[in-house]
């Protein structure tokens, strides 16, 4: 797009154009820097033959084909999806209440709600780890039914299982073993960590959606004979669709990007709590920066795909 396309109606004079060009040049600079930042991974892989004597393309393909990568991608996608659904179940009623009702101590409510957004993510992980050693955590462990644990683990095993040729024989990896009802260092703990890190974003996005819908719509629906419940489900929810989609995608994106809380609360255990960022951390810890880079490129592709899908779904505006 050229600068002239955005000049003001009365304009066309050189000064205005120059100013527009100046503004756009900042955008172009930022875009170029971002693109370079992301593409540097590809660049680094491309020169892998010089650094470690292997072709970067071969490393990328090997990473794509690696059962451990498959495990990490599946675990990331599934856990983030479950987290997003759970967050939405909480966020829609919570956001609606925030948008419509007056609360005492609204400052405190607001601050508590936004804290997870501002806090460094590892804080959430360490707090969870500590929570589960207090009586409250013991109580949660105590009331967690064994059938639920077995069900979740069995379900995950069905999805995550991979056959791996390791040290001279085939073994099944990625089965989630029955580890009792304690939540720390478990796969289901990932969902807990992601939930606390991501849910606040979901509430904010959905609330923004509700805020744009005037109370009048509900009031009109109710004068026409709707109950409060009917007005909510038939009028408000469909109108807030964009905000809800934005909230769901935002929580999903936050959840899939989460690293710190999972590192602390679930540990960095290969073939168990190895979501994509943890996998990258483990590859880096083993000195294989190139393989970590290959995984980074896979993560960029998945994120880009998510964003494109989101835009196709029509969720614009509320996200940022």
């Amino acid at each position: 797009m050229t600068a002239s396309a955005v000049t003001s109606p009365e304009g066309g004079d050189a000064g205005n154009r120059l100013f527009s060009a100046l503004l756009i040049s900042f955008l172009i600079f930022f875009l170029a820097a971002s693109a370079l930042l992301l593409l540097s991974n590809v660049w680094y892989l491309a020169i892998a033959r010089e650094t470690i004597g292997k072709s970067g393309w071969a490393l990328f393909v090997a990473s794509l084909r690696s059962p451990e990568t498959h495990f990490a991608v599946k675990l990331s996608v599934v856990s983030a999806a479950v987290t997003a659904v759970l967050c939405m179940i909480i966020a829609i009623p919570a956001a609606y209440s925030l948008s419509r009702f007056r609360f005492p101590f609204s400052g405190v409510v607001d601050t508590l709600l936004d804290l997870p957004i501002v806090l460094p993510p590892p804080v959430i992980g360490l707090s969870l780890l500590i929570l589960f050693r207090t009586p409250a955590g013991h109580f949660v462990n105590h009331i967690t039914p064994q059938w639920l644990v077995s069900g979740i683990n069995g379900f995950l095993s069905l999805i995550l299982r991979e056959r791996v040729f390791e040290y001279g024989r085939w073994v099944v990896q990625g089965e989630i073993w029955d580890d009792g009802t304690n939540w720390a260092y478990t796969v289901r703990g990932i969902i807990l960590a992601q939930f606390f890190a991501a849910c606040a974003f979901g509430v904010r996005a959905v609330k923004a959606g509700f805020d744009t819908i005037g109370v009048r719509h509900e009031e009109v629906a109710r004068t026409l004979g709707c109950t409060r419940r009917q007005a909510f489900f038939k009028v408000v929810l469909p109108m807030a669709r964009n905000g809800i989609v934005a909230g769901a995608v935002l929580t999903w994106a936050r959840a899939i990007a989460e690293f710190g809380p999972i590192l602390f609360f679930c540990g960095a255990t290969p073939w168990k709590t190895e979501v994509m960022p943890i996998s990258m951390f483990l590859l880096n810890s083993a000195g294989t920066v190139e393989s970590a880079t290959a995984l980074v490129i896979i993560m960029i592709l998945i994120s880009a795909l998510t964003l494109l899908t989101f835009k196709r779904l029509g969720g614009r505006g509320y996200m940022w």
């Binding site: 069905l158 073993w177 720390a184 255990t269 880096n284």
Partner: protein, 276 residues
């Protein structure tokens, strides 16, 4: 309309419940009679430990799950979670902390980590030994001395060589785990770093170059392994510790670059904890 919707929702709920129960059965069938041990381990020695875990699973059917992190972080983790079966930090110092808190009752020394110097591939700064790190313009990396075992060892090496005061000014980064430091050399951000022999063994000579440190300055650090008191399978945890002290495990450690072995007699010794 409303009845149909109720029926559909009920059916979906039913299907989910049946699916979960079925998955639970399938999952239980797969994991019945399985012992899984959780081991807190230093992140830098993953290749050796992964191989030992796979080997042990092949031999006994017991599965080992590692939680990999920097040695110093492990203890904080365990304090907060009070969970785990086996504890293997990179240095006695951290084991002693665990013993003091009575997380570990007894341990064995299974192998040694030895400090080496690594420089960029091709050695562009012509570093010949530890004392060259004191030269002007060097960018040196070590582990954070308060957090990771290799950082404490690096400070010790440089102090023994009498160049700590000069080199301290050239320290451009301190890593939270040992591979963070070695990767920085590999990526060309640092000229040299002091890391473990097993860390240097992760790379080919095209990535980083290893320079041995003379035995008078070198730090050899014992790698202790102990069963934890929280273990729900204390017998199996103790058996895994014994396996790590075996000759078979020693061969795997040697293969992965642990260049200073522990004599078999010393490996057999069980060190009892006690306030110390």
């Amino acid at each position: 309309m409303s009845v149909r919707r109720t029926v559909i929702i009920t059916l979906i709920c039913l299907a989910i419940t049946v699916g979960l129960l079925w998955a639970a059965r399938a999952g239980n069938a797969a994991t019945r009679n399985q012992v899984v041990l959780m081991a807190h381990a230093g992140a830098g020695i993953r290749p050796a430990l992964d191989e030992l875990g796979a080997l042990y699973r092949q031999k006994t059917g017991v599965k080992i799950e590692y939680n990999y992190k920097g040695s110093g972080c492990l203890l904080a983790d365990v304090c907060a979670s009070q969970k785990g079966d086996v504890y293997m930090p990179g240095e006695l110092y951290y084991m002693q902390q665990a013993v003091d808190r009575e997380f570990v009752q007894s341990y064995r020394v299974v192998t040694n980590l030895t400090t080496v110097l690594i420089v960029q591939a091709g050695n562009p700064k012509h570093i010949k030994g530890i004392k060259d790190l004191a030269k002007a313009g060097m960018r040196v990396g070590i582990g954070e001395p308060e957090v990771v075992a290799v950082g404490r060892a690096a400070r010790e090496v440089l102090t023994r060589a009498g160049v700590w005061k000069q080199v301290e000014k050239h320290i451009a980064m301190t890593g939270q785990n040992v591979t963070e430091v070695s990767n920085a050399v590999k990526l060309g951000h640092l000229d040299a770093a002091i890391v473990w022999d097993a860390t240097a063994a992760l790379y080919t000579t095209r990535e980083v170059l290893t320079i041995q440190i003379p035995s008078s300055y070198r730090v050899v650090s014992a790698v202790p392994v102990g069963a934890m008191k929280f273990s729900r399978n204390p017998k199996e945890a103790e058996q895994y510790v014994t396996f790590l002290a075996s000759d078979e495990a020693a061969k795997v450690f040697a293969k992965h670059g642990f260049s200073t072995p522990v004599p078999p007699k010393q490996r057999g010794r069980v060190i009892k904890g006690g306030k110390g």
